[in-house]
């Protein structure tokens, strides 16, 4: 039996765990930002451009940890085994 396939399957399992759990936080966080931005725009529509800019800035930074997970998941899939 070829055990290197078991090692590869562990790497695939790891990639799934990594991206799955890693996407949870940025998703919730970015949704919270967008929700608060909508709340802010509803109360003061004249600042909508400023609020949208800040929303996108904040979401971009919150995305970074999701990108870390993506990088590690891709490394686990393509460079291991």
């Amino acid at each position: 039996m070829d055990f290197s396939l078991i090692v590869r399957s562990a790497a695939f399992l790891g990639a799934g765990i990594c991206m799955g759990i890693g996407a949870l936080g940025p998703g919730i966080g970015q949704g919270f930002v967008a929700g608060k931005a909508c709340e802010g725009i509803a109360r003061s529509p004249e600042n909508s451009a400023l609020l949208t800019r800040t929303m996108l800035l904040g979401q971009a930074v919150a995305e970074s940890t999701g990108i870390y997970s993506l990088v590690i998941a891709l490394l686990l899939i393509f460079t291991t085994g």
């Binding site: 090692v7 949870l24 940025p26 970015q30 919270f32 109360r43 609020l51 904040g58 997970s69 686990l76």
Partner: protein, 248 residues
């Protein structure tokens, strides 16, 4: 029976995944929380947009610390040139290192995000005290991130500095493997409470400095005392993790 080298590789891959995924969870949520409250604050005080954006970005950068530690540990587990000989003990140590860093950065991520969010909220209420609020926020976040540094220390020791085990019998090796996993879980879960709670303390302190700037020294003193007491359980976890790693 599966080859010992392959067992160690499996453990390293799973450890790398656990490390970066849990850290992303909390840091992503924390950064989003900060940005959300910053947006809401901007609605109240559009004139302070520069100051608010700066505070938000600094806070998010500090919140990111735990995730970056975890990324480093993951990359070390994947490409760090680790010794793959050693079978079950080495495999357990690598998996435990990943678990320690992953779970250990969850609390600080949530806590720092909370502290940053309330600092932004306070800033919109009292823009003239922006520097004091930001200073308080950074001190609080640094105290919160201390827990993730404990986790980083334990994870690096598990990766590179476990004691010699080749002379042990199989039963003793199994016992030692389990104690490494226990050490990883201990520091992982043990830093969750203190990391989150110190962020809560720092957030509330920043909020109150925004409302009552004259009471700043009293508020900060209380914050330090509260944070020090809260940190104590993280230090107990660190001591137990070291005992599990080196005293058995």
């Amino acid at each position: 029976m599966i080859d010992s080298i392959e067992l160690v590789q499996i453990a390293a891959y799973l450890g790398a995944a656990i490390s970066v995924s849990f850290a992303s969870l909390s840091a992503g949520y924390g950064e989003g929380y900060t940005a959300g409250l910053a947006n809401f604050a901007l609605m109240r005080q559009p004139k302070t947009s520069d100051q608010l954006s700066r505070t938000m970005l600094v806070s998010q950068a500090v919140t990111e610390t735990g995730a970056i530690f975890s990324l480093v540990i993951s990359l070390l587990l994947l490409f760090g040139g680790l010794d793959v000989e050693g079978g079950i003990v080495k495999a357990a140590a690598l998996l435990a290192g990943g678990i320690a860093m992953g779970l250990g950065s969850v609390g600080p991520g949530f806590g720092s995000g909370y502290a940053g969010g309330y600092a932004c909220s306070a800033l919109s209420r009292m823009p003239t005290k922006g520097n004091e609020i930001m200073g308080n926020m950074l001190i609080g976040q640094a105290l919160s991130q201390a827990s993730s540094i404990f986790a980083l220390v334990v994870a690096l020791l598990l990766l590179y500095a476990i004691p010699e085990f080749s002379h042990l019998t199989l039963n003793q090796q199994i016992m030692r493997s389990v104690s490494y996993l226990g050490a990883g879980l201990c520091i992982g879960f043990g830093t969750f409470g203190p990391g989150t709670a110190i962020g809560f303390v720092a957030g509330k302190a920043s909020d109150m400095i925004g409302r009552y700037p004259r009471e700043r020294t009293t508020i900060m003193r209380t914050m330090f005392v509260g944070a020090a007491v809260t940190e104590s359980t993280a230090i107990y976890s660190l001591v137990i993790a070291f005992l599990l790693m080196y005293a058995l």
